[in-house]
């Protein structure tokens, strides 16, 4: 097994700790144990090059713990783990992975001591993360879509048509007390998402959406995820219609 390139390693890391720091440092414990396992034979061991999933997993943890330069921290930690594992194969008695763990710990400290984020995040990272995520989504909704340059009559007509059909569906379904989505509803919704994707869309009023609708808007309009019930679908549809899209291909618009 090439351990640095195995999904098993990432699974073990994910299970190892509740904190991002703990998961990063577990890399050294797991490698240490793995290289000391009785079944381990020096002749058969190949470490392999660190896979992209492993580096990305470490990057995710480095971001969560609030590192100043998460890319560098993840890269440096994986390099140290690899060098230490090689060292451990040549000199098992050096306990190089235990020492490497201390180095990684010092690096994490070096990358967080100015902000003190690591300590804060340990206590309330769920809250921080939630707030940051929703803020980002709102900013994204309001600002990332650049102002439209031109209306497309065709697109508007299509959206309006789809809206009429969906309204009928909503009314029918409400009468039947059936809140589940039909295949037709789903395919219509997907068609709208697909259409949105082809244009440049904006909806600055998103910032004024009532709180109870925000999650639906973010998930089912911005996120492009299909609503799970018909009430949400009608809300999502309502906002979907408000989003203004410019379907002029980027290159054409730019050449004017």
């Amino acid at each position: 097994m090439e351990i640095f390139d195995s999904p098993w390693l990432i699974n073990m890391l994910a299970k190892a700790s509740k904190t991002p720091q703990g998961r990063l440092l577990a890399l050294f414990d797991i490698l240490h144990d793995w290289l000391k396992a009785p079944s381990f034979e020096q002749a058969s061991v190949t470490l392999g090059a660190p896979s992209l999933p492993l580096v990305n997993y470490c990057l995710e943890q480095a971001r969560l713990l609030g590192a100043e330069n998460p890319e560098l921290l993840a890269e440096h930690i994986v390099l140290i783990a690899q060098n230490a594992a090689r060292h451990a194969i040549v000199q098992p008695e050096s306990n190089s992975l235990i020492h490497a763990r201390k180095v990684a710990q010092a690096l994490i400290q070096a990358q967080t001591q100015r902000t003190g984020l690591a300590a804060n995040l340990k206590r309330s990272h769920a809250v921080h993360y939630g707030v940051a995520a929703s803020l980002l989504m709102l900013i994204g909704a309001a600002a990332i879509w650049p102002p439209m340059l031109m209306h497309s009559r065709n697109a508007h007509a299509q959206l309006a048509q789809a809206d009429q059909r969906d309204n009928i569906t909503v009314v029918n379904a409400a009468g039947n007390q059936n809140k589940a989505l039909t295949a037709i509803d789903a395919s219509r919704m997907y068609a709208k998402y697909e259409q949105m994707r082809q244009g440049t869309c904006q909806f600055p009023e998103a910032l004024q959406i009532p709180d109870k609708h925000k999650s639906i808007y973010l998930e089912n309009v911005v996120g492009g995820k299909l609503p799970t019930d018909l009430d949400d679908l009608s809300v999502a549809n309502f906002y979907l219609e408000k989003v203004r899209c410019n379907f002029t291909p980027m290159l054409m618009a730019a050449s004017k």
Partner: protein, 187 residues
Amino acid sequence: MSGLREKILSTASDLFQTQGINSTGVDTIVATAGTTKMTLYKYFSSKELLILEVLKEGHQDFQTWLNNKLNANARHPAEKLQKLFDYIEEWITAPEFNGIGFIKASAEFPKEDNPVHMLSAEQSMQFQEYIKQLAHEANIQDADGLSLQLSLLFKGAAQAEQMKRGSDAIKYAKTAAKILIDGALTR
């Protein structure tokens, strides 16, 4: 005639550092150095011998430079240890930095029984021994442990910097080194 030998060595060193060792042919070296293959083989009987000589000289330069800097600027043994990463930073962030010879060479020659790999592994150990000596002089109990830690830290930072210039790797390594050294000194 020894001037020609030096010229070949320094040309090969530059090319190995900037283009890689394996991808630099003997033809390129002689053309750049303005000499002939025959002259090159007169001084170095094979490309491998030339590589080994370049590595030896490069490592010697690095160690001598570092040692001189530490001796000139730090009085107490503990101070030398604490300033070690300051000078490593100076070396690594210099505009002409192209990587640490023995780190690059061991990556290009991964086979354990290759003479180039063996020499670079030996140089890596020598560097760790050097740090261990500094730790000993500073009365650090676990000099073995600390020197291994600092050498892992240094290697990783040099590799990160080799992959991406201006990565700040050495900046954080310096802070981490201070944390590790301070921890070992107070124990």
